[in-house]
């Protein structure tokens, strides 16, 4: 009751903040917040977009719909163009077919999870690869080695191994793993909140 009275008085005074009113009814406060960072899949913007030319920052401020990959022009859009630039670099170029698969998987930069799966584990890119990386729930688990998964897609033979495009012979095997895995001392507890206590 007290909080409702406070809420009414706050509104009457012309303030916009509804914090403290009983809540979660969809009303919005007056203050506006401008996006500074956006993140979903771990490798995409951080590794494939350059800091040079402000590419990383621009993608951070964009929405997924601005990432590109429109039908008929798969390399258009901000993030799609960054990926194309990286994968056509003479030092580590990939075939058009492999580039197309990588773009179709990574653009837009959104983490995909399939809630219909009766799974109790997640596996990064599980939906996009139809279970090739593990659980078809997809998403991302705390111990998923997203670095090696991503490195293998960009520099390795993952795309051709999955039969999604012909091998192009341009893989760089020495770049497909950072040789770091989830250490035992970081294993997540089984119960909420799942992440380990701070050091």
């Amino acid at each position: 009751m007290q909080s409702k009275v406070f809420c009414v008085l706050t509104l009457a005074a012309g303030a916009f903040s509804l914090a403290g009113c009983s809540g979660n009814n969809g009303g919005a406060s007056g203050a506006r917040f401008t996006q500074q960072e956006r993140l979903a899949r771990p490798i995409v913007n951080e590794a494939l977009a350059t800091f040079a030319n402000n590419r990383h920052s621009i993608n951070n401020r964009n929405t997924p719909q601005q990432d590109g990959n429109e039908a008929g022009d798969p390399a258009s859009g901000a993030l799609a163009a960054d990926i194309e630039a990286f994968l056509t670099h003479p030092q580590h170029t990939r075939s058009p077919q492999i580039r197309g698969v990588i773009r179709s998987v990574l653009v837009p930069d959104v983490m995909i999870a399939d809630l219909s799966q009766n799974a109790t584990t997640a596996d990064y890119l599980g939906v996009e690869t139809n279970g090739a990386t593990g659980s078809r729930f997809g998403g991302r688990g705390l111990e998923d080695d997203v670095v090696d998964t991503s490195l293998s897609i960009v520099f390795g033979t993952t795309v051709s191994d999955l039969g999604l495009a012909p091998a192009d012979g341009n893989q760089i095997p020495t770049l497909t793993s950072d040789n770091v895995g989830p250490s035992a001392n970081k294993l997540a507890p089984f119960a909420f909140p799942y992440l380990a206590n701070p050091r």
Binding site: N24, R32, T34, S150, P193
Partner: protein, 253 residues
């Protein structure tokens, strides 16, 4: 390549630029100031620097799902209690549950925080349809039940929330990464910009690699709730299917 580059950046400095590392890790106990950022903006506002997003099922109950957002990484061991979320940042999980996915948020779960300090308050809103779509947003009315940093609470029936310091679960050889693609480590001042930003300066990782995050912490927002709460609803019926998830941090104008 690899994820939130941010951490690595600063972290890499720990090995190569001790003075810079000291500044980045120790000189910003209460949000804003430096960071291990992937962009200049994040370097200047650590509290808005998101390092990871996760979504996974409850390992003991497949009907429930867990969303995790990590921010403000690279907190040194023994100092996690000195760090707070940024009160002027709106932290959001954005969820697309359209069929097919259209990559626009249909629901958001928001977190905002009170004044920095050991008893920092936590407000949760959602999952709800956002008041605004895209890159400029407002806070939705939060639940009346609020929490405190570092203590799990339930803002509404069926939902569990934790917001506070945790061991950073990410693992990566950041130092070597910065040697391979130094362009990505420029924002934190830990590398010199190469003439060609996409040119790898080395073409091998080291074996064994070194996990730069092994003894570092972050601030985590963990939300667990029934899958049905974030699934699409058609004529009042829940349809569990594919969703798209991304996280955003937004600074008050």
């Amino acid at each position: 390549m690899i994820r939130p580059l941010k951490k690595w950046l600063v972290a890499a400095g720990a090995l190569t630029v001790p003075a810079a590392l000291t500044t980045l890790l120790l000189n910003a106990p209460q949000v804003q100031s430096s960071d291990h950022a992937d962009t200049t903006e994040n370097v200047n506002r650590l509290g808005a620097d998101m390092t990871d997003v996760f979504i996974f099922p409850n390992p003991a109950d497949a009907s429930r799902v867990v969303l995790v957002m990590n921010v403000r990484g690279l907190i040194p061991a023994g100092q996690a209690g000195n760090f707070s979320f940024d009160p002027d940042v709106l932290y959001q999980f954005k969820i697309d549950n359209s069929s097919p996915l259209d990559y626009q948020e249909d629901l958001v779960i928001q977190a905002r925080f009170g004044a920095a300090g050991p008893n920092q308050s936590v407000e949760i809103s959602g999952p709800l349809r956002p008041a605004d779509f895209g890159a400029v947003n407002r806070q939705l009315t939060p639940f009346s039940v609020t929490g405190r940093k570092g203590t799990a609470f339930s803002p509404t029936a069926g939902m569990q929330v934790f917001a506070g310091p945790r061991k950073d679960p990410f693992f990566f050889d950041l130092e070597r990464f910065c040697q391979i693609l130094p362009d990505r480590c420029v924002p934190a001042g830990l590398a010199t910009a190469p003439a060609d930003p996409n040119q790898a300066q080395a073409t091998t990782w080291r074996a064994p690699g070194q996990d730069f995050l092994a003894n570092l912490n972050c601030l985590s927002i963990v939300v667990e709730l029934p899958k049905a709460r974030i699934a699409r609803s058609v004529s009042g019926a829940t349809q569990l299917g594919k969703i798209g998830l991304w996280g955003t941090t937004s600074v008050r104008n």
